[in-house]
Amino acid sequence: MITIKDFKTEKATWCPGCGDFGVLNALQKAAVNLGIHPDDIVVVSGIGCSGKISQHFGGYGFHSLHGRSLPVAQAVKLANKDLTVIAAGGDGDGFGIGMGHFIHAMRRNVDITYVVMDNHIYGLTTGQASPTSDVGFNTKTSPYGTVEAPIHPIQLALAQECGFVAQGFSGNIKQLTQLIEKAIWHKGFSFVNVFSPCVTFNKVNTYDFYKQELVNLDEDDTYDPHDRSAALARVAGRESMVVGLIYEDTGRPSFEDATYGFPEEAIAKRDWSLSQADLAELSATFR
């Protein structure tokens, strides 16, 4: 049986107390709970403190480029559909430089899970404003307070009809684990935004802050996570300060299912050579 030990690597290099430990933990637990062997899961990350998760997770990993985890991850999945593929990274990585890929990954709906460690700051580069930083937030690049409105990742995901939208908090690993499990389970692209405090550079969006602010939708029996309009209204009202499963649409076919001729067998496991007969047949199309 797979246990959390099978995922253990050398100690993560994050600052003590960093929210990303919680995310790593939840991700490993989710994999264990789903019985995924560490050899069969790939974590593709971008660059940032958060990006180091691919090295720390204990499966196969690709620590790619700043903002490019999603293109890499989608293709890993398409190349080998038998793998569980997780894309992961920071708020700068995913909602700044990577924003275009985020929106398009939702359109494309490849069966992967995207986990963003949203700390409202650029951590690795030691504290600049991020796309999710609140207006007025003071950082090294916003000494007079940020003036840009923050990105609303949850609202964007709902607007773009992402098939699975959830939000978690590093301070609640149990819930986060469940959300990630469901996200992996979901067929098609699933998105889990995680409030993951940066204890070193963000003294505003702290564990305490979130404990106070967050409303847990999973504990709200009146909330129906299958009604997109209701979700949009709820989330817009609370400025997305909610956690839980926000929306799921189980009806939308994944890219793999919708694509004509998508191979039954994982591409990476096939023999690719064509027989001379096949080649001759193709060649004949040029006559």
């Binding site: 790939v42 690709f62 490019r68 591409i267 064509l274």
Partner: protein, 586 residues
């Protein structure tokens, strides 16, 4: 070799392309060797376009300098193409819509034919194209019936009536010409093909796509861009049958990162683009280099810089292909010379990418990519799949997790076997950060050096074909040098110079990285002076030769950068300018 040059021209959207296609394909099917070149513009309707077809009784690799027959749907076509008409050429203009005037005095037959009027009688003005082909048939002295198979191919799904009216238009054009004019340019005698020769009709882009499929590529991620998009079209058509996937990416950055991801996962994957997209790929190119992930990138070059001339050809991405991306990576840059090499090099590009675990850039260009031509078959039997060093399950079996050294720096050739995700015990992290053997980012000095040198070793043992071809007299004191798509025209120039008694050797690069220094050195032995022919304005290949081989004083350049492919006579003229008379007369 006997040949004839035919061209049709008019406004974009007037059906020029399909006219050219029908004529070219008909001539090909008759057994001739054709070479086509499409001159078009970056707008959808209006603007001058023309389609040149060279018909020959032997293989030709160039659309030819001359035009014998010009079909003109407007005066602009007459003006634009006047200069390339041979003595005694025939210009057929659409008398229904304008009265052609010769731009200069010349021995040219300017024949008006009411193409549109005849067309109207048979089915509508758009039929003027078929009328023009009929006229051509008459000039070529071929029966209109010879075109029937093509017409049926093209129109039968629209019903017999459409086929019939097209054939009728064709016949009428033929008859009209027969009736009114006496001048002819008969096509050469039909060539007799040697046994086993597969007489095929393909463009470089198609050959590139076919080569990729043959080479095991099963994932293409690309973003539309002229002149590379046709690669996508071909692949879209054939991948479903062979279990492949095509991703239309949101941009070229996504495209290359997708190709990298798929290769990491163990598929053979590629991306195809042209200059603007290629420039966007520079960061990810470095990722492939640093993470030692195989990837194949096709750059079908067009006129730059920036958006440049999107529908014109150029060979000006050489520098970026060799030097793009910050820092230093290993890369292979192939420059196929022919349609057949597009096929073969693509198939092999995936082998090289996996063998050397680095990006392989295939530099094609608009001229090679979009020109259709007759060839004598693809080298199907030379296709091999060699996946390079993949670690065997058995070798991993004994290891505990994270013992496997994906980036083992101790391998003598620098090439450490790859594990593929899903493989038991092969877990590691691929990454663009500097790293240790198991794929953890590190910043210590020794590991850094060891890994830089590991990667550098990979290509120091590079083995492939020689990277240059040498044609002509081995002892010639005078050389023509080129790379990629100019192979055909340089061969023609060499042959033509020979008829003038000028003996040259033709050195042609089919690979620029790793630079074939040794073969070049040998080829340059005894050469006093060399003309480097390239389609760019700064002489990038010449600079590259200077950098690697010296020979600063021996080299002269023949550059063309107006967007048009180079002509044979332009090369010859430049030879006469730069080569000392005593060499020419040697």
């Amino acid at each position: 070799m006997k040949d004839i040059g035919w061209k049709v021209g008019g406004k974009q959207g007037e059906g020029i392309d399909s006219t050219g296609e029908i004529y070219a394909l008909a001539m090909h099917r008759l057994g001739y060797f054709v070479f086509t070149y499409r001159h078009f513009m970056s707008l959808i309707k209006g603007g001058h376009t023309n389609y040149k077809i060279r018909v020959a009784d032997d293989m030709v690799r160039h659309h030819g300098d001359d035009t014998h027959i010009l079909i003109a749907f407007d005066q602009a076509t007459v003006d634009h193409n006047w200069g390339e008409l041979v003595d005694g050429a025939i210009v057929i203009y659409d008398q229904s819509s304008f009265q052609a005037t010769p731009p200069t005095q010349a021995n040219v037959h300017l024949f008006g034919v009411p193409l549109t009027d005849i067309a109207r009688e048979t089915g509508g003005p758009i039929m003027k194209n078929m009328v023009a082909i009929g006229v051509t048939a008459a000039i070529n002295e071929i029966s209109p019936e010879e075109f029937r198979p093509i017409v049926e191919d093209k129109f039968s799904r629209k019903g017999q009536k459409v086929v019939d009216s097209n054939m009728e238009a064709l016949r009428r054009g033929h008859a009209y010409y027969q009736e009114h004019f006496q001048v002819h340019f008969p096509v050469p005698a039909k060539p007799v093909l040697a046994a086993g020769v597969d007489h095929l009709y393909a463009s470089g882009n198609q050959a590139t796509a076919f080569g990729a499929l043959a080479g095991g590529c099963r994932l293409l991620a690309a973003y539309p861009i002229t002149p590379a998009t046709e690669i996508m079209y071909w692949v879209l058509k054939y991948f479903p049958k062979y279990g492949g996937v095509v991703l239309q990416a949101e941009d070229e950055i996504a495209a290359i990162n997708m190709a990298i991801g798929a290769n990491f996962a163990g598929a053979r994957a590629m991306t195809s683009t042209s200059g603007p997209g290629f420039s966007l790929m520079m960061e990810a190119l470095g990722l492939a280099g640093m993470s030692e992930t195989p990837v194949v990138i096709v750059d079908v070059q067009r006129s730059g810089p920036s958006t440049g001339l999107p529908t014109k050809t150029e060979q000006s991405d050489l520098n970026e292909a060799l030097y793009g991306t910050h820092g230093e990576i290993q890369r292979i840059v192939l420059t196929p010379r022919t349609v057949e090499e597009c096929f073969l090099f693509m198939a092999d590009a995936f082998n090289l990418a996996e063998r050397y675990q680095c990006p392989v850039i295939v530099l094609s260009d608009l001229y090679l990519g979009m020109s259709y031509q007759s060839i004598a078959g693809f080298p199907l039997d030379r296709v091999r799949i060699d996946r390079g060093k993949l670690v065997a399950d058995a070798d991993l079996a004994g290891l505990s997790p994270f013992q496997y050294q994906r980036y083992d720096p101790s391998v003598p050739d620098g090439i450490s076997p790859r594990a593929l995700p899903g493989q038991p015990n092969g877990r590691y992290t691929a990454l663009g950060n500097e790293h240790n053997g198991i794929g953890l980012e590190v910043e210590d000095l020794e590991t850094r050096v060891v890994q830089v040198e590991k990667r550098a070793r990979k290509l120091s043992g590079f083995q492939h074909d020689s990277g240059i071809s040498v044609d002509g007299d081995a002892h010639a004191r005078f050389a023509l040098i080129g790379f990629g798509s100019t192979y055909g025209v340089l061969e023609e120039a060499r042959a033509r110079l020979a008829t003038e008694g000028v003996i040259v050797k033709h050195i042609h690069f089919s690979r620029v990285g790793p630079f074939p220094a040794e073969p070049l050195h040998e080829a340059m032995a005894g050469v006093d002076r060399a003309l480097v022919v390239e389609l760019n304005s700064t002489g990038q290949l010449a600079s590259l030769i200077r950098q690697h081989a010296g020979d600063h004083d021996k080299l002269a350049s023949c550059l063309k950068y107006n967007g048009d492919p180079i002509l044979c006579k332009e090369i010859i003229t430049r030879c006469h300018e730069v080569f000392p008379a005593e060499v020419l007369n040697a």
